[in-house]
Assembly symmetry: D4
Homo-oligomer: 144 residues x 8
């Protein structure tokens, strides 16, 4: 089973989940999590831009090569919403999965359940901790 870990890149939730799933036959995927590299990849590789909008566009589209493939090939997606930033890319990924019909789990605290109601409304589960995500992954892949 392929698991795509989408969203927040400022805490170590991905590492927690991957480490705790060591015994499962899972392949983990996700976006580039180096914030600076992710922001500047476009101009670093393909040349500088005077306009911030096109600077961002170049980077966003390079990252999209990776994220589109990751989302389309995943069997299950975990979408993490943290405390900082707008995180519209995480909601974008959730909408992308909803259209594909790929099951996804949200991972966020309970103080943002109202603004996330549409995102949660199309999710298969809402987890509040990485441990719960691990338990879900163990459950759905167990050999009963």
């Amino acid at each position: 089973m392929r698991v795509y870990l989408s969203g927040e890149i400022h805490s170590d939730w991905r590492d927690e989940i991957i480490a705790a799933c060591g015994d499962l036959e899972l392949v983990f995927d996700g976006p580039v999590t180096n914030h600076a590299a992710s922001d500047d990849c476009g101009v670093a590789i393909l040349g500088v831009e005077a306009e911030k909008f096109w600077h961002d566009r170049k980077g966003a589209q390079l990252n999209a090569i990776r994220t589109r493939n990751g989302l389309e090939q995943a069997d299950i997606i975990v979408v993490r919403f943290g405390e900082k930033y707008k995180q519209w890319n995480a909601a974008f990924d959730a909408g992308f999965c909803a259209a594909l019909g790929t099951p996804y789990i949200t991972l966020h605290d309970d103080d943002i359940i109202h603004p996330l109601k549409e995102v949660d409304g199309a999710a298969m589960a809402w987890a509040q901790t990485p441990e719960q995500v691990v338990e879900v992954l163990k459950y759905v892949t167990n050999i009963s």
Copy 2:
């Protein structure tokens, strides 16, 4: 051509666009824009919930009946990001359109181009004013 107007529901941008496109053969669609009705439709129709999470779930899923159909039938979507709220539903709609391959336009100020870079990166155009959206709609539907 069917145009779906997604996102912010606290200013009159939809009315501006619809009024200015009066001469075009366009059908406009969008979510329920009455904020209270949109939030509480689930429990109002299907019964109260003690938990806020399920209160929101009921409403979000009722609204999804309308929004899914609207997004899937649209030829072009306009996704508006305003100044208030998290607006993850707008980003969710954009991701949904991206997966469907339906062209969409974003409508937002230039102070949020960085957090919207993934959403803009999959868009066909970024407009800063409803007037620009109207010009785009006129242009793409003109009879040259």
Copy 3:
């Protein structure tokens, strides 16, 4: 909007809904609701069968011409589970809709929520009365 009314054919729930939605611009569709005609259409038109299995097969496949088209063209499906019969065809229709990604509402009493948990789990709403279905249809098609 096209609404397909699936499931139980022994009470007048379809008539109730259709009558109460008279003012909405909805097109209603559904299976043949004459039980005897539905059971025997195959052999009545295409010739008798000695084996009950093929008698049923002939009818089921004729009915499927209608139901497949109805389900595929619908924007929203209502799936009604009543008190009698196995009603596997209703659950089959729900699974068919789930795979298509078409939003559906279930309509059933609360004494069967446990056996219907998978069917409800993929639904956008659970209604207990035809009146609630009508309210949902009014809500999702209103012009706010």
Copy 4:
């Protein structure tokens, strides 16, 4: 070839089929067959619910992560209807496969051919015993 074994979880029909197919290059998949675990997985992992409906919803959606992936990846599905319970989930799986165009076989006694006529009508075969299913799997995968 991937074979998904859907439906009844109270007899050992899965084990019979898997054991008898030991020589074939088949990968078997299916739902969690521990009834209690399947019913309660949602609340056990993600927190208790006061309402039975949401208790069931949580579990049904967790299980759906596994079953959706299993159904979508399968080359052939066997859908077993036993003597007990409503088994609407089995019919739901059959409808899901029908919409995907994935071939499925039903496995049930002849006393329920009438209520299963729509489910059988979209099936590639009706088997009455696990042995027959095994023979079908051997036949369709043989190297002539």
Copy 5:
């Protein structure tokens, strides 16, 4: 409902069906039924070919513009196999419909049920007379 009448073009079965369905709200479609025009349309419009193979290719592809659109837009297809010719185009159309998941009915005598077993095996019904086809069309489109 759109009905596509595929296959044999040497008897008046299409006219019979269309005439008898006069009261139904059906749109009928089908291939060009003028045998000479159908065979020679390619070279007549686009220039002569020395090789019979390319003469036929040109015609077959022109006809395919019409037939592909007709098959893809149809809600139900009737595939008629007559007594003469190889009629591989009729079987081709049936296979095309099977892949699309569009319901089709075969119309042929009982002396060719064995060679047509794969074509019939994916059909929703086998009719032996145009009258039966008419009855099927009446049944699946009736307003009960």
Copy 6:
């Protein structure tokens, strides 16, 4: 039937075809054919760009809103290659149609059949004159 006229915008081939098809029930669609408007629409509506690349990008993506919808909704596409310019957009449209499975006709002189062999290889017909295109449209839409 919807006919999309793609490609060269410097001669009046579209007008010729549309005029000659006056009696047919066809809806014609196509790109904006005003060369200057097509090139500059992006910056004219959405603001000037210092870089030619982004100037062109803005315009190309606005035009793509129209062309994508036109190509996806068309039943038949005519792709015209003229004598001037690179015309990669016309070949792009042909590839887009090939992936969608939508029948298309090429319209070009015989001195470019070699470089167009891949584009012609996926086409249903090659016409050398607008008159031939008209005859094809008449043929495929006739009521025999």
Copy 7:
């Protein structure tokens, strides 16, 4: 690359092709080629039928489990038309591939090019000998 060998089962053309492609990294697939087994598999496994039509139906649908999977997973299909029998199943397979967009090659003598014009018209190549098919497979899979 997966190659599906469809059609005629009375000569050794499959063996010829497979043997001659020994050095290529190809996986070959195809229907059951034991004529008697193919005709009678349904009743042999699932019980006898009094009616020839249902005898054939049972077998055809069992075989369809194998052929549908084989056609859907193939990268290239070879469809062989021989001298005997109606071979509607071969044309059915070709139509199925055409709808899926999977490239196929026909293999047949030149005395049946006219009745096969629709089948050839959607093919990527027409071969007259197994040797030519082998050359095509070598060519399309070579590492230049």
Copy 8:
């Protein structure tokens, strides 16, 4: 990750990219790059043609067997436009990818950005050198 290298076959850009990506887990694919073999494969294998048009058709369709499979299976496509020839096949491939939703990168000098604006407009990135393509491939496949 599968990378398809489409377009110009007269310089060694493919070798440069493949060599520089030696450490990455990438599978490279592409068309036959032997120009003469690519042009004449059809008649060489399947028999000579008197007409240049059909000579080319035969070759183009054989090549399409390979290119269609390559494009459909690729996770990322690089489309190279060089200095010579019309290169409509490269633009055709780009359009094909756009319709499939598969991310592609263009590789071309800056003197042709205007005629390539539609092709670039649907691309995820524009590279001017093979080195940049290599950097992109390294970036999107890195394990951060």
